[in-house]
């Protein structure tokens, strides 16, 4: 299942922030991403002191925690999962530790509810030392384009 999810993600480099899914079921998902030192935003955030922007950590949490899980949930509802249309509708995040270039993070997301195409989750990101990097609650709308 996880390879099918990755194939259907509507992202590509340089804005794909999912490498692999470790685990996915109807209640949650766990996935990994390594922030390559070559990523473009490190040139400017910050000058001479590259640190992963919080907005990118949020995006990584959303891609793994909401989009990957959302695609899975649509799949188990029996719908075809090609061309998912998605939109982030809310996020409330707290950032606890910096993530430097080259670090690998794990995102764990727990479903609060998935109803009427809206998925709301509690997400947590951990670094390679298993320390909490950021956490929050986010929600998005996800549906399959049926008119194409």
């Amino acid at each position: 299942m996880s390879s099918v999810i990755l194939e259907n993600l509507p992202y590509s480099k340089p804005f794909l922030f999912v490498d692999e899914l470790v685990n996915v079921d109807e209640n949650g998902v766990e996935g990994k991403f390594t922030f390559s030192k070559e990523l473009d935003f490190y040139k400017g955030h910050f000058i001479g002191n590259p640190i992963t922007p919080g907005v990118i950590l949020t995006e990584c949490c959303a891609q793994i925690g909401l989009v990957c899980l959302g695609i899975h949930l649509i799949g188990i509802e029996g719908q075809e999962i090609n061309k998912p249309r998605i939109g982030l509708s809310s996020s409330e995040m707290e950032f606890l530790l910096p993530v430097f270039p080259g670090e690998t993070v794990i995102v764990r997301s727990e479903k609060l509810y998935f109803r009427f195409n809206k998925l709301k989750c509690k997400v947590k990101m951990y670094n390679a030392e298993n320390k909490l990097v950021c956490r929050g609650t986010m929600a998005g709308m996800i549906k399959i384009d049926t008119d194409v």
Binding site: R115, F116, K118, A139, M141
Partner: protein, 83 residues
């Protein structure tokens, strides 16, 4: 619970999700949730979930599709609470 009481209860739920540029006074039975009250699809789901809790009912996908105006919502609530 009377009709007027249901309407007030629904208005109290809707007002939480109104954007800043829409006032409570603009809510009427004829109001269209997305086109007139500028409520987005994610907040429309929030309204439905709050309605379920407040009236102790369960809405299906079909109900959601039909719920375009405040009046639609009241009709669905009436139907479900009568059962």
């Amino acid at each position: 619970m009377g009709k007027e009481e249901r309407y007030q209860k629904l208005r109290d739920i809707i007002k939480i999700y109104l954007p800043e540029d829409v006032s409570i006074d603009q809510i009427s039975e004829e109001s269209h949730f997305t086109e007139e009250l500028n409520i987005n699809s994610a907040h429309l789901v929030d309204i439905v979930l709050d309605v379920e809790d407040a009236f102790d009912i369960t809405l299906e996908n079909d109900d959601m599709d039909q719920m375009q105006t405040v009046k639609d919502a009241l009709r669905i609530i009436d139907l479900k609470t009568d059962k």
